[in-house]
Amino acid sequence: MKNLRYMFFLFVVAASTGCEKFLDYPPEGAILAEDALNTPDDMQRLLNSCYDVLANVFDGSFQNMAELMSDNMALPNGLDLQAIYKRETNFFTPYTGGVYSDFYYTIFRCNTLLENFDLIEGLSTSDRARMEAEARFIRGFCHYYTAMLWAQPYGYTTDNSHNCIVIRKEATNLPLARSSAAEVYAFILADLEYAYNNLPEVNSVYASKFSAAGLLSMVHFQMNQYSTTVAYANEVINSGLFQLNDTIDHFPSIDSLFIALPNPETVFGIVSYQNDVRTDEFIGNYNSAGALPPALTLSSTFNSLMNQNAADQRKSWIEQDGSLYLSNKFKGKTVFNVPLIYLTELKLIRAEALGELNTDLSTAISDINDIRDRAFGEGLNDLSQGSSASQVISAAREEYRKETVCEGKWVLQLKRMGAKGENIMVRNAPWDCPGMALQFPNSEFTGNTFVGNAEGGCQ
């Protein structure tokens, strides 16, 4: 029995001592979360990674989806793209699921940054304010564009109590329910206003005070709040920092290695480099590959719109190939920057907002004519001074639709107009039919509280 007691003693000692260090196997080549964020440079890198994902979302992916939901496009090639066009996405549609996930991946990074400032030593107050404001700008930006495609627009219900999207204000794994449109838009505005109040006026290619102002103008316009639309648009337009392009091309090619050439009218956008191209989905889907037609072509109705006036230089954006109308906007290009908030758009929404307000129409007409002068030639197709508010609105919309084709912006306006009470039909279906809100990806339904969008298309 002596032996037994001895063995038992040995066992107890060994078992209670353990060997925890032997079991400590931190990953090689990866950084543990608790060790990741220590210096201002770490935070700057994390912030840059937010832009990095955003650049992947807006490499044409989001724009293509949004454009397919409008009446600018013909039936595309490819099962996923067709599902979007036919307004029959379901939660297995990978294309839409990937973009949705990337929006929230960006948001997760922003929230991670916002939650970790206290860990950082040596971060100046101004840098902290700037980073925080940039992160909130991107967070608001992502929530806004997600709400645009995955939910019915602001104004769909009178009190905006309808289901919108999930608000992510913390970097957690918890399943969350969708918030109402009222809550989502309030959240977006709060983020953007914070950004507007804390961002520098000039911030390289990153978000600036005027990026926030431009986006605030666009969001308020989407909410049919015209005074604030005008006020924020004025901030940008009157800043003197941005000039309209001389040419109609919003996507000038970049040919020089390592030299980013932002469009001079870009208030905020994605930059590409020869070694870091962020335009794949534009090029891959709009340009022909060998003998095969491109996946995305324009609709005949849009072609007709473009051909109303023979002097319109923007006609050159369309090339007819049999029964197909190919977009030339990206033809022959590989590397270019992608403007997301830019002067042309802000001028046109300011013009329309002023028309809605029926005030300062001369500014509105001037805005429209700035665009028309570039498209048609100086004074060749100007909107006459003294035009009525409705004429201003109509002209602004027409130019907006033409200028932004392939950029995924027109469907947002269709939804907005519908929510405003206009009788809007999109390819023979009402603006608010179920398919005009994309279905959420499958994994969003893993929590019991989530309610998806109705499926079944718009027939």
């Binding site: 063995m7 032997f22 964020l37 890198r45 840059n48 996923d80 994994s443």
Partner: protein, 1041 residues
């Protein structure tokens, strides 16, 4: 058909009733010379054995020749006798047992401790190496099918080197690996099925490198008492493999060789060109189309009528049987040579083996070259050491299968009107010659991939080379009587290199070839040390105590080399070296894990009829969170040999009865090593956004991850009647698993796709029955029948606040549904075809009929887990002939034919199966399938989504299969002697001769390729273009001298 099988079976049984054989018999006595009942008498290298009756008598029928006979009983020294049994002879062999003083010479170690041949308190099935080697299977584990109750073995497909799916007492895990723990010669081996993912639709088979001829025996440990000593890793059972050692003095040699051919066990019924075109035309017209239908890769729906007509008429002239193009007759060849030498102070077992299995898939084959040396040295009277050293190379000549191509293409996108080769010269738009007659005809599938399975199987140079060395060393130290200190160390080294060259022919755009060479390198170190002491407390009260410590560490490295832009003169892998300038090499972060444990076990026996055992483990795993690394795994068990009690002793009917019961906790930690950590990655190379570096989160970790734990209760009765002419084991068990690990799909709005969490609760409960009957036990004729039957109930009890979509089985439609088994199919329920419109009718969640297909009405429609599985072995020996048959069966499982939904759904760029002939054509038709259409929305499917996930393609997977039928003939001893041999056996066998099933697809027993362990757990019985099993015809010859 069934009738002919029954007739064959009757003939088989009749044959059984007219025979006679050799017998060994005798009386076993104790030290006082009194009869000794209950002594286990077994014949090694065979499955024969019995226990002595009340009078100490035993009798075993045997084949002529040399045999080793073992006599064992708790507390007594195991005795081994070599006998020579002549033809027709009856040999009397009386034995006197000696008390249990285990010495270095007779010590046997299985698991952690000294094996005393005691009646175990746990559930253990032991299968001899001979039984395993007798069935010609691609990998040894497949031969375990039907051999033990509660052991469910689903055979692999016919792809060479493919692995089986093994489940012991159901499945308790969801995302953590659900396979049993494999121990080879005392150490846990690397058993990662996903080292190569599922490239080419083939998972890695970590057991393929083990040569069946080297196996002495395999133990299946099922309950907490038996598996408890491996507690923390035993939630899904333990399989212990022991390799051969020399047992006799002097030299002994074994030689065996086999030849065989294999064919597909069944063939798909794909449409020919005329049939496909006719049905496609019908679909076009149903959709309102006029003129000729457009044809994939020839025309489009937008083409004018004349163009479509020309293409259609041209297509009618070609009729390629793509299945026939990808299938052939396989061949098998194997040779093994073993040598044993035993001396007073040392012994050694040595073997070399070669096995070549060319499967019936054209171009596919698996070669195994193996060598083993198992030496043992008695250093002193107190110290013994042994080694088990093996080295194996497995070379798999790969072809695509299933979703990846090959036969999979032949059953899907290879339309019969596509020719294998161009027959005309093809010109480009500018007049260039694009193809000349004899060039491969390539087409694009719906995903844009270039296809032609014949071109791929002929032109792609693709090999997977596995080098494996499983090495163990053991020192056994006996410092005093009844005390053993045993140290076992192991090093399992595995290198898997996959080399693939795709020649320039396949790049239709640029004309460049590509190649890659991926290597996975696994180093798995482990050791355990135990000390075991036997205490004879008082007369007939024996206590055995064991304490031990174990440690394991594994590191897997990933090295990848690729070449893109190879020129067309690079046509073999050996040419790639010349293109070093194109090489891109990357080394991924290694994966590492460690395991650490202490354990203790005490076993008490009283009067050799009452047994109690208690075991306890405290184990730690690096896979878990900082505060949850360690888990405690106790077990308790008891056994009572009732037949030793006075009220039963001496009965002639019930000669043996043992009752046993056990309870214990077992665990599972088999998840990716770094799941607990939240991680970031830093990229400094300056080509990220705006040319600036980035730092970003890469994984949502869970620092609270802990052991998945199963509580096991088991109660069993083992009985023998009429001197063990009939023996049976009946066992009931209940395994309730908590904190079951789930790789939860996070809501997309979180920003990460998945994370591991201890969420679920799972119940497995069942009954197992195993019987052995000696129907006839005459001198020249014996008929033994072994039956095993297992019933298992599986229920997913809880998954917290998650929905069924939180965890899915890869691309399959299996989900986690509370109240249903793991691996349930979550589909839209199909009701019938509306006889007026021909449209499919579905059932919504309330059971109401609807024409609307909607993902929101998906529900549990069935599952892939069988209610019953089992096997029936009949072994008849007449003089020198032995006829063995093994039937296996499965009842109650469903199979989801995931590719059937495309082969018999919306008419598309997939060829179809002839079941589709039963489709709706006009009002009033009652058909299985609805009207044909090219437009998925006709069936109410979402646009662009032809994946018709309905219960229409779920079938009953019950089957009865003649798994193996063999006849062996042992040459008369005199003949063997003349040839200077101890014995020579020749045999023929056939596997998978027939299967009786209602499943209309290829095979009701299916193991498809899986994406990850979770998919492997959740998606049994899902087939997606999975190749059929093989039917093989084999001849073998073995000789001992």
């Amino acid at each position: 058909m069934l009738r002919s099988y029954l007739i064959a079976l009757s003939i088989f049984l009749c044959f059984a009733t007219a025979t006679v054989g050799q017998t060994i018999y005798g009386v076993v006595t104790d030290e006082n010379g009194d009869p000794f009942p209950g002594v286990v008498v077994s014949v090694t290298a065979s499955n024969k054995g019995t226990a002595t009756d009340f009078d100490g008598k035993y009798s075993i029928p045997l084949t002529p020749g040399k045999h080793l006979v073992e006599f064992g009983f708790t507390g007594y020294v195991k005795q081994t006798k070599e006998i020579q049994l002549n033809e027709g002879a009856e040999l009397k062999l009386d034995i006197q047992m000696k008390s249990d003083v285990i010495t270095l010479d007779n010590v046997e170690i299985i698991g952690y401790g000294v094996q005393r041949n005691r009646p175990n308190t746990g559930s253990v099935s032991r299968i001899g190496g001979k039984e395993i080697a007798a069935i010609r299977t691609p990998s040894f584990e497949a031969a375990l099918q039907g051999q033990a109750p509660g052991l469910q073995v689903s055979q692999a497909s016919g792809i060479a080197g493919a692995g089986s799916l093994i489940r012991i007492r159901g499945i308790a895990s969801i995302s953590a690996g659900g396979d049993p723990l494999y121990i080879v010669d005392g150490i846990p081996i690397t058993q990662d099925y996903f080292l190569r993912g599922n490239s080419g639709a083939l998972n890695n088979n970590p057991l393929a490198s083990i040569n069946p001829s080297d196996i002495e025996n395999v133990e299946i440990r099922k309950d907490a008492a038996a598996a408890g000593e491996y507690g923390s890793r035993a939630a899904n059972g333990v399989i212990i493999i022991t390799t051969k050692r020399a047992k006799e003095k002097g030299w002994k040699f074994d030689f065996s060789t086999n030849f065989g051919v294999s064919t597909p066990a069944t063939l798909p019924n794909m449409l020919n060109s005329a049939e496909y075109l006719q049905l496609r035309q019908e679909a076009w017209q149903n959709d309102g189309g006029t003129g000729f239908v457009w044809l994939p890769n020839l025309t489009s729906a937008d083409d004018d009528a004349a163009t479509r007509e020309t293409a259609y008429l041209k297509a009618q002239k070609t009729d390629t049987d793509w299945v026939d193009q990808t299938l052939g007759t396989g061949s098998k060849y194997g040779v093994n040579f073993g040598a044993r030498y035993g001396a007073a102070k040392s012994n050694v077992y040595f073997s070399v083996g070669y096995d070549n299995n060319e499967s019936f898939l054209v171009g596919n084959g698996y070669e195994r070259i193996s060598a083993r040396v198992n030496p043992e040295f008695k250093v002193t009277d107190k110290l013994k050491a042994n080694l088990s050293l093996s080295l194996t190379r497995g070379i798999n000549n790969r072809v695509d299968a299933a979703w990846s191509g090959g036969l999979g293409d032949a059953m899907s996108n290879a339309l019969p009107y596509y020719p294998v080769y161009h027959t005309d010269t093809v010109f480009g738009d500018n007049g260039d010659v694009l193809n000349v007659p004899g060039d491969y005809f390539f087409w694009r599938d719906e995903f844009g991939f270039t296809k032609n399975p014949v071109a791929y199987q002929n032109e792609i140079d693709w090999k997977t080379i596995e080098d494996r060395a499983i090495n163990t060393g053991r020192i056994i130290y006996m410092p005093m009587k009844d005390l053993f200190v045993i140290a076992t160390g192991g090093f399992d080294w595995m290198s898997i290199r996959e080399n693939k060259l795709t020649p320039a022919t396949f790049d239709l755009s640029n004309g460049f070839g590509s190649a890659y060479s991926d290597q996975r390198l696994v180093r798995n170190y482990s050791y355990n040390v135990t000390a075991e002491k036997l205490f004879k407390l008082r007369e007939e009260l024996v206590l055995s105590v064991l304490v031990g410590h174990e440690l394991q560490k594994s590191r897997t490295e990933f090295i990848s080399e690729s070449w893109n832009g190879l020129f067309d003169n690079v046509v073999e892998l050996s040419d790639v070296g010349s293109a070093d300038s194109l090489k891109i090499r990357s080394v991924s972060n290694p994966e590492q894990y460690a395991f650490f444990g202490f354990f203790a076990k005490a076993n008490l026996s009283y009067k050799s009829k009452y047994y109690f055992e208690a075991a306890f483990r405290r184990d730690g795993s690096s896979r878990f969170g900082k505060n949850e690394k360690f888990g405690d795994f106790p077990s308790l068990s008891a056994g009572w040999i009732v037949s030793e009690e006075k009220f039963l002793k001496g009965k002639s009917t019930l000669t043996y009865l043992k009752l046993r019961a056990s309870w214990g906790l077992t665990g599972n930690s088999n998840i990716p090593p770094l799941s607990q950590y939240s991680t970031f990655s830093r990229v400094d190379n300056g080509i990220y956004y705006n040319q600036n570096p980035i730092l970003f989160p890469t994984q949502a970790g869970n620092p609270n991850l802990k052991w998945e734990t199963s509580s096991n209760i088991s109660v069993a009765a083992e009985a023998g009647f009429w001197n063990d002419k009939l023996t049976f084991t009946l066992e009931w068990y209940r395994k309730y698993s908590t904190d079951v690990l789930m790789n939860v799909s996070l809501p997309a709005s979180v920003g990460f796709s998945n994370f591991y969490d201890n969420v679920a609760e799972v119940l497995n409960s069942g009954v197992e029955l195993g019987t052995t009957v000696y129907w006839i036990n005459k001198r020249n004729f014996t008929w033994k029948m072994i039956t095993n039957l297992a019933y298992n109930y599986n229920e997913l009890v809880d998954i917290g606040a998650y929905t069924p979509d939180a965890v899915s089985g890869g691309t399959n439609d299996s989900r986690v549904i509370v109240g249903e088994p793991i691996g349930s199919f979550y589909l839209v329920e199909f009701s019938h075809v509306d006889s007026e419109t021909g449209l499919p009718v579905y059932l919504d969640l309330n059971g109401n009929e609807t024409f609307d297909y909607d993902n929101s009405i998906r529900k549990y429609v069935g599952d892939g887990l069988p209610d019953f599985v089992g096997g029936l072995t009949n072994q008849l020996t007449y003089k020198n002939f032995t006829l063995t048959s093994l039937f296996t069966f499965s009842v109650g499982a469903k199979i989801f034919d995931s590719s059937g939904k495309r082969q018999m759904g919306v008419v598309s760029g997939w060829n179809m199966r002839d079941e589709i002939f039963d489709r709706w054509r006009q009002p009033g038709d009652n058909s299985v399938f609805p009207l044909l259409t090219l437009d998925e929305t006709t069936y109410s499917l979402p646009s662009g989504f032809p994946w018709w996930n309905t219960s229409l393609f779920m079938y009953d997977a019950s089957y009865l299969r003649l798994r193996n039928l063999s006849i062996d003939y042992m040459l008369p001893v005199e003949t063997s002697k003349k040839m200077k041999m101890d014995n020579i056996v020749v045999g023929v066998s056939v596997t998978n001769l027939f299967t009786i099933t209602n499943f209309p697809g290829l095979d009701p027993e299916v193991v498809r390729d899986f994406e990850n362990p979770q998919d492997r757990n959740l998606s049994p019985n899902v087939t997606y273009l999975t190749p059929m099993q093989e039917r093989s015809y084999n001849i073998r010859l073995s000789a001992n001298f």
